[in-house]
Amino acid sequence: MSLTQSDIGRIANLARLELSGAQSETMLTQLNGFFDIVEQMNAVDTTGVEPLAHPTAVIDHVSLRLRPDVASEPNDREANQKSAPAVERGLFLVPKVIE
């Protein structure tokens, strides 16, 4: 499976990355080299095999823990917004969102 420049453009867009022409070229070559190795996976017969999402599920029952419904987090706005690029009146500012 060989990627094309158009794939690179589409994926970069999905990932909100901006690649220059040269960067796209390099990325294309590198990714194609990488996916050559990934093709090895095709040959493996995984019929009837469940994906392993949580590693220790191989030997243990892994299930979601539930916590009691208690609102215990205090208002820590100042500390939480310490590293915000743009804040006004407690709101995070961004370029206008057009719907």
Partner: protein, 496 residues
């Protein structure tokens, strides 16, 4: 008393407890040393005021009569762990200037035991890399040969220990990032069972693979740290295992059941995967590892050949799953709430693109691209899903092997440390070098690197030990027994 930086964790803790020195003195000594050796690039940031305040608090606890294995001991944290009083960058421009309002659980637990933070350690950006050349803040140098890489992603961590800039440190391991730099730098490190240490406060790379772990000059010191770091974090990490915290020092120095003091590892079956000893591994590494295994036989262990048939497959499987999870984990870096925002942009989409492209280095961008692709419509089944299925097969392969042995052993990496810049233009070559560590991570098993000797160019070679789930205690026990009978782990690079 020897110079403070030559003391390991337990020795230093005793010296402080016995008032031969103080936590403040030790911290000052090590901070000075860090500055002296800043050329290695191990440290990214300090906060001397905070360090000394912590040290004074520790000294006060000691004066009040308290005793604990880590009380007053200075150590440093990989910059993947968020810290309130120290900057956190994860080695990335994306987080330059970031101040976390909270401490990582692992950091909290060590601090509660009285450990003192010296500073934050350099690493590959967002833990992605095997050479620490991917840091936005400069590469890290191997003190055994400063023209060479220390390994990664916990390169700064490994160097700090090897160069005696800290008696112990924290690192993280997703595909080998504790074990491999430990091997390249001649120190000891352990990645515990997945879920053993809390991931809360670890800047996420690959959620189903990331694990925190200690790195130090001995298995004994690692055991002390791991005992403090590990344990359930029910309130904050849903993947943290409900297994109770353990004291990993208990088994150290104890012979195995049915064994003797002379042959403490009698009855231990060590499995050697034939795939780890083939053509892909450099002869000097194999020779060093085999010599180390011969020592294990002297200690009473038996060597058994086993097979991990999907070892090579672990490379594509890991490099599909890890980037996939990473691509999603890194989406929060959008310039809105924290992190780098571009200075100029036309609109919202442009802001996202510029901020992210400026903030992320090339390796991170590459992995985001891979991850986005393998999750995208039409490719999910063939790539991500297939990889997760093979992952289960790999985990099953280990279980099959563990039917024949108690521990699995082999090299950590196919070579010793390579030269800085040697592989930086070939990302795939870097991925291939992870071949012996990836499968352990995919299966979620605990794995260690133990200094085993020296290979080509007098560079360190690590012996990898892999245990079954929750077997950190026996793993550390076996490593410790080896370290009682050998002295590789005590060697320091010249001038350090």
């Amino acid at each position: 008393m020897n110079e403070l930086h030559t003391l390991g964790v337990s020795e230093l803790a005793s010296a402080i407890a016995d008032k031969k020195t103080s936590s403040v003195e030790a911290a000052q000594h090590l901070l000075a040393r860090a500055k002296q050796h800043s050329g290695l690039g191990a440290y990214l940031s300090f906060n001397e005021e905070a360090t000394l305040a912590q040290a004074r608090a520790a000294d006060a606890r000691i004066a009040a009569g308290e005793r604990a294995p880590l009380l007053g001991v200075p150590l440093a944290h990989k910059d993947i762990f968020v810290t309130k009083d120290f900057a956190t960058t994860a080695g990335s421009r994306m987080l330059a200037g970031y101040q976390s309002p909270f401490d990582a659980t692992v950091v909290q637990r060590l601090a509660a035991q009285g450990a003192v933070t010296l500073g934050k350690l350099n690493c590959d950006e967002f833990a992605m890399g095997g050479s620490n050349e991917n840091s936005a803040f400069g590469a890290v140098r191997n003190p055994w040969d400063t023209a060479r890489v220390p390994g990664g992603s916990s390169g700064g961590s490994a160097v700090a220990v090897a160069a005696r800039l800290a008696p112990a440190v924290t690192g993280t391991d997703t595909g080998g990032s504790i074990r491999q730099p430990a091997s390249f730098c001649g120190i000891t490190g352990i990645k515990p069972t997945y879920g053993r240490c809390s991931r809360y406060g670890m800047v996420a790379f690959a959620s189903s693979l990331d694990q925190a772990g200690p790195m130090a000059r001995s298995a004994a010191d690692c055991a002390v740290l791991l005992s403090a770091m590990a344990g359930p974090d029910i309130d904050r990490d849903s993947t943290s295992l409900d297994h109770p915290a353990e004291d990993y020092t208990v088994l150290l120095g104890q012979p195995r059941e049915g064994a003797t003091a002379a042959q403490p590892l009698k009855g231990l079956r060590i499995g050697l995967p034939k795939e780890f000893f083939g053509e892909g591994c450099a002869p000097d590494v194999i020779a060093t590892v085999r010599a180390a295994l011969a020592e294990y036989e002297k200690l009473g262990a038996t060597l058994v050949e086993v097979s991990l048939p999907r070892t090579e497959l672990s490379i594509p499987v890991y490099y599909v799953i890890a980037p996939a999870e990473a691509s999603s984990n890194l989406s929060r870096f959008d310039g809105v709430k924290f992190g780098h925002r571009a200075a100029k942009y036309d609109d919202l989409t442009d802001m996202y693109k510029k901020s992210r492209s400026e903030g992320f280095g090339p390796e991170v961008q590459r992995r985001i691209m891979i991850g986005t692709y393998v999750l995208s419509h039409g490719y999910y089944d063939a790539y991500y899903l297939q990889a997760q299925k093979i992952r289960r097969l790999i985990a099953q392969d280990f279980q099959a092997a563990f039917a024949q042995c108690d521990l699995i052993a082999g090299p950590v990496a196919p070579t010793v440390a390579w030269k800085l810049g040697e592989k930086s233009n070939d990302p795939v070559a870097n991925y291939l070098a992870d071949i012996y560590t990836l499968s352990t991570s995919l299966a979620g098993l605990p794995g260690m690197s133990v200094p085993a000797g020296f290979g080509a160019g007098g560079l360190p070679v690590g012996l990898q030990l892999v245990g079954n789930y929750f077997q950190e205690g026996p793993l550390l026990q076996a490593a410790h027994a080896f370290q009682q009978a050998t002295d590789w782990h005590t060697r320091a690079p010249q001038g350090y």
